[in-house]
């Protein structure tokens, strides 16, 4: 049995943010109370050994749930695999991760869904939940067998990495997915507007002579999908929202009662396009880093709940792929191991976003919206938990990263504030930054 003493518990599911003692037994949260005596704990342990942790000055919150990761298995294991990705997850404070379907082959049938799920179980770190594609072969034309894939364990459907350009196919997907109760996750990007663009279209792209992606490439599809969700009463989730116009569209749609949620990536909350140098392929990401105004609108959207969730869009790539001229390097930032600390350092410490809101947006809300276990420390809940030490300091170095990928903009940077203990179903999987 675990006894976490005098720890600051953040649990938005019970509107709790206060010092508490927490008992964990048999993979579940047993009790949370203001204080416990040793006698009380001994009695509850009923002979079981007690691991006591002094939680003073640290936070305990439900394990983070990341609804947007790319684990690259099957097919691109040189970038990442489910084992390395799920180890990176628990090192970064994530106890459940949803794996996007744009692997090779793409996850468009039940057998592949079960494969990903099984690989996650074999790895035995974070819970790995497969997302299936919306369309066969991710070709944007014919729907997958959604009901069968749900039976196999699919947690949602998405053609992420590509947009479904055909509005009618998207409409049908939102309709048909009602059979499953699962979400359609939309990667909003008009491929014609995005073209061969490499970064956000703006002064920085004009200056560097890099092809620009206009903000409208995202926002016009956000508008389309919101209208389709409204018309069909389907369940829509919008991935990696990055523009001020998108935030505005979502805010208005929610007022009308559209069944939609949206996520924002840490890098869009932290960086904007003006920081990009012409060889900074590590910051080449899709959707691209936006303007200052975009960044401010995303922060405001996260604060007021227009943007429901934070998600990493963990996109591992090899060093060789990123060591290319800007236009030839792939899009994506590997972030599972650094995202929480980056958000803490860049947004929570300066007082831009509260830690309570971060936990709500990165654990409670995803659990609620996707219907997942976790996201709560109410007694009886699964003991997926993170102990976060705001004083713990570490330099992000290639040697310590457990992900296969090194494509993080935080390499060689020092952060203070890290998850120092992580439990999955009551089992300790990370301690003092080491994956066990």
């Amino acid at each position: 049995m675990w006894w976490l003493k005098d720890v600051w518990v953040i649990d938005p599911s019970q509107k709790l943010s206060a010092p508490r003692d927490v008992l964990v037994q048999g993979g579940q949260v047993l009790e949370i109370s203001s204080s416990m005596t040793e006698e009380e704990v001994l009695e509850k342990a009923q002979g079981e050994s007690i691991d006591a942790v002094n939680g003073q000055g640290k936070f305990l919150f439900p394990g983070l749930i990341d609804v947007h990761t790319h684990l690259r298995e099957p097919g691109q294991e040189d970038k990442e695999d489910i084992l390395s990705g799920s180890r990176a997850a628990v090192r970064g404070g994530f106890t459940t991760i949803l794996a996007m379907a744009n692997t090779q082959p793409v996850i468009d049938n039940r057998a592949l869904v079960e494969f990903v799920r099984r690989q996650g179980e074999r790895a035995g770190y974070a819970h790995v939940l497969p997302i299936g594609t919306v369309t066969k072969g991710m070709q944007g034309a014919e729907l997958v067998e959604m009901a069968d894939m749900k039976e196999g364990g699919a947690a949602a459907f998405s053609d992420d990495g590509k947009n479904i350009q055909n509005g009618e196919v998207m409409r049908l997907a939102l309709e048909y997915a009602k059979l499953t109760g699962l979400l359609i996750i939309s990667h909003c990007e008009d491929k014609y507007l995005a073209g061969e663009g490499q970064m956000r279209r703006g002064v920085a792209s004009a200056r560097m002579g890099l092809k620009g992606i206009p903000a409208s490439a995202e926002s016009v599809i956000v508008a389309r999908d919101l209208l389709l969700a409204e018309e069909t009463e389907g369940k829509l989730h919008l991935a990696h929202i990055s523009t001020v116009e998108s935030v505005d569209l979502i805010r208005r749609a929610k007022k009308r009662g559209v069944n939609v949620t949206a996520e924002v990536n840490p890098h869009h909350l932290i960086f904007c396009d003006e920081v990009l140098g012409i060889t900074d392929t590590v910051l080449k990401v899709n959707p691209p880093l936006g303007s200052r105004a975009d960044r401010e609108a995303l922060i405001e959207g996260l604060r007021d709940g227009t943007l429901d969730m934070i998600a990493t869009d963990h996109a591992p790539h090899t060093q060789a792929e990123k060591a290319r001229p800007f236009a030839e390097a792939p899009f994506g930032i590997a972030s599972l191991e650094t995202a929480l600390s980056a958000v803490w350092q860049h947004l929570v410490v300066p007082g831009i976003i509260s830690m309570d809101r971060v936990v709500e947006a990165w654990s409670f809300s995803p659990a609620q919206r996707f219907g997942l276990q976790g996201g709560s420390l109410v007694p009886g809940s699964v003991a997926d938990m993170v102990l976060f030490d705001p004083e713990f300091s570490e330099v992000i170095e290639p040697a310590t990263l457990v992900s296969k990928a090194r494509n993080t903009p935080f390499l060689h940077k020092t952060f203070q504030g890290f998850p120092v203990m992580v439990w999955v179903e009551g089992r300790l999987v990370q301690r003092d930054r080491k994956v066990l």
């Binding site: 200056r207 012409i278 001229p325």
Partner: protein, 311 residues
């Protein structure tokens, strides 16, 4: 002054002093170039490698001539354009060149930023001979040299650069360089080839060539990539030429004996008419000659070491 730079990547981050020093050095180089026997032993034993990922006749030849006049050995690696993201990466090519102990690398590459990418990897210097749509510093320097040769100081002069601004590394490098020298720069082109964010370069922009021309001391027509029409960026060559083609009639609107530049190769009858291209105001052949001088200056400055051609 003491020359510090290892590489020539662009004019955006080049100081006025460096630009002046290059132009001054090029003047000496041009004198050498104009001699009947143009061969110096200055860079004997030095190797200059041309790495061209894009087709180029004049720029590559110009660099080769420049290096040879100075006595360096030159090697050309022409790499088919299709090799981008296939075959050997630029990173590996760079490592190979490094291992062959080149003293200077001249790079032309279709990706913006490729020259800096290479320079960050290599110990030897890199001269950017055009990186994507980013910069083409040697072209801008030879343009500036040509303008100064004809007009003297460029301070307060007015230039109109007309054409496909969006895709032009020549326009970008000239915009940076000329502004540093106090030139009033106006970029002209159709809205699809002159997006509003080009204002970020600090220059004036307009869609109307006729209104931009009055008072211009220099008019530069850019080469129009004909395939842009197929991507829908403008409706036809005919309309483009009507609106932005440099004709004798139009050139009169400057109200002075303006000089005309073109980086070549020209699409005669599209962005420039025959009579302008071959007229007395055009300095297009001078640009080519000066190009060799500018490249001699740069090669000399980067790998000339302590040798003393320029007092």
């Amino acid at each position: 002054m003491k020359w510090q730079r290892k590489d020539i990547l662009g004019l955006e981050d080049m100081s006025v002093e460096d630009i002046r020093h290059i132009l001054h050095t090029a003047k000496v180089m041009k004198e050498i170039l104009m001699r009947p026997i143009k061969k110096l032993p200055t860079l004997k034993g030095k190797s200059v490698v041309n790495v061209f990922y894009e087709a180029s006749t004049r720029t590559r030849t110009s660099f080769e001539m420049a290096a040879k006049v100075l006595g360096a050995d030159t090697t050309s690696i022409a790499i088919a354009q299709s090799s981008v993201s296939k075959g050997e990466s630029l990173y590996d090519t760079a490592k190979t060149i490094q291992a062959m102990r080149a003293d200077l690398v001249i790079l032309r590459h279709p990706s913006s930023g490729s020259a800096k990418f290479l320079a960050d990897i290599l110990d030897p210097g890199v001269i950017n001979a055009g990186d994507g749509q980013h910069e083409h510093p040697t072209q801008a320097l030879l343009d500036i040299f040509t303008m100064e040769e004809k007009l003297g100081s460029l301070e307060g002069k007015k230039i109109v650069i007309v054409g496909d601004i969006l895709h032009s590394r020549v326009a970008r490098s000239n915009a940076w360089g000329l502004q540093k020298l106090g030139v009033d720069v106006t970029l002209v082109g159709p809205p699809t080839l002159l997006p509003v964010e080009m204002d970020g370069l600090g220059v004036k922009t307009t869609y109307d060539l006729n209104s931009a021309l009055p008072g211009a001391d220099i008019v530069m027509a850019l080469r129009l990539q004909l395939e842009r029409q197929k991507s829908g960026l403008f409706p036809s060559l005919r309309e483009y030429s009507q609106l932005y083609g440099l004709t004798t009639e139009r050139l009169k609107k400057t109200g002075k004996q303006s000089i005309v530049l073109h980086p070549g190769p020209m699409n005669r009858g599209v962005e420039i008419s025959d009579d302008v291209a071959d007229g007395v105001q055009a300095l297009i052949e001078k640009q080519v000659t000066n190009g060799v001088a500018i490249r001699m200056a740069l090669i000399y400055l980067l790998i000339g070491g302590s040798s003393n051609v320029v007092a």
